[in-house]
Symmetry: D2
Subunit: 136 residues, 4 copies
């Protein structure tokens, strides 16, 4: 499913110096943190909060991450993380991401993250209907 057919959350911020590395560009692990920030923003923009979800006793543990690096971003660059829900199943979720510079349309990274719903004891659980409805 293409990101244009569904709700896409956008969140923008400047690259921090700490997120760069000795190659003078954003370190590849920093984008995994940007994906997470995109995910948090997606949930906030759906009127909810992942912090509330955790307080209610459910966790979205990361089961897989994949990122393809197309072009390097640099310190202080204003970047945008686009985040959408690729797939929802009863116990799992997949988010899709594209990180770009909206001014130039340069795409830095594309990727996905897969999540599995856990309860407080760490057991696999069905995503509560309340959360499933809010996220989708």
């Amino acid at each position: 499913m293409s990101p244009t057919e569904q709700f896409v959350a956008k969140t923008s911020f400047n690259v921090r110096y700490a997120e760069t590395d000795a190659m003078g560009i954003v370190h590849h692990a920093s984008y995994i943190v940007y994906f997470e920030e995109g995910r948090s923003s997606y949930i906030r923009q759906r009127g909810s909060s992942y912090a509330d979800m955790e307080r209610s006793g459910y966790y979205l543990a990361v089961s897989e991450v994949q990122a393809t690096y197309l072009k390097p971003a640099k310190y202080d660059q204003h970047i945008t993380v686009c985040t959408w829900l690729e797939q929802v199943r009863s116990r799992t979720l997949t988010f899709g991401y594209e990180i770009l510079d909206e001014a130039t349309n340069d795409i830095f990274v594309r990727g996905i993250s897969k999540h599995i719903c856990l309860d407080r004891e760490g057991n696999i659980a069905k995503i509560p209907t309340k959360w499933r409805t809010q996220l989708d």
Copy 2:
């Protein structure tokens, strides 16, 4: 000098999950990165850019950091970094910081960072007048 007597840059963002630790709160080293983000924002709000300063051949190396932790911030909390210039000398700068929740007035961390101006060869240099004027 008190922050209220001079230009104070404010920058706000949500705490990222990656910035928390197993105590359930923001890890103390994350605030040092927030100071840096406050500093970048201070320079941007003065109409300049630390990236440009580096491109012109001058670096503000960190020579000292000090932080006092008053109250823990948590995941997704909307926090504000207040940043001001405490002192400018010919070759050094000191920035002051206060990180707080503007909604509750809870202050999380206060601190300072000291910087020394270096040229491309890594030698101590006078801060160019252009940059000194823009920062102060």
Copy 3:
């Protein structure tokens, strides 16, 4: 190709507190940094150094990362990163990884990273024979 048929570099260290998150476990982006540490160690154990490779004017930019999370590691746990070369082509390399607790045989994460060789100008370059021979 299976890791047992070729040179596998092992590097072990304790999980740092800063690498955990509010779930009480190692944050998923930290493992991407562990992969990198495995890669650095692989190159060191082959008698070389990625720092030397960069000094000679060649960079191994990350073009893709993939990680599958099987079990969470915790603070202070002594973990081992196994790293091997999955594939070498003239301009690209793929490393494979497995992160585990050698005492319990618990496997935390498996993954790969793909790299493309760049020269100082950022152009795609053939991996110099010297480096190709040392890595393989």
Copy 4:
């Protein structure tokens, strides 16, 4: 008190690429994480574990950090963190640190961290005698 008059824990490791920044050197916040790793190692070398201390219901929250940066460390450099206990009081602890290259005697950073003992409810607590004895 000088580090030579008391127990000094040494822990050595190579600088990771992710810990560097666009200046080509170790990012200043990374040393705060190295301090923490020094502290963890100090406790391990005293025959204990901070993970056990947390499991017993006591936390050493960071109340202050100070670092002075003398010389930059670089990627892959083998560095050593020396850690000692500067002061122990009934409810607080201060650790001292020196990070250096033992091969060249280059000192990169010196600093301290102050800690306050908290119980599970987050209240200030006396450091249990068991832990005080093991740490000192």
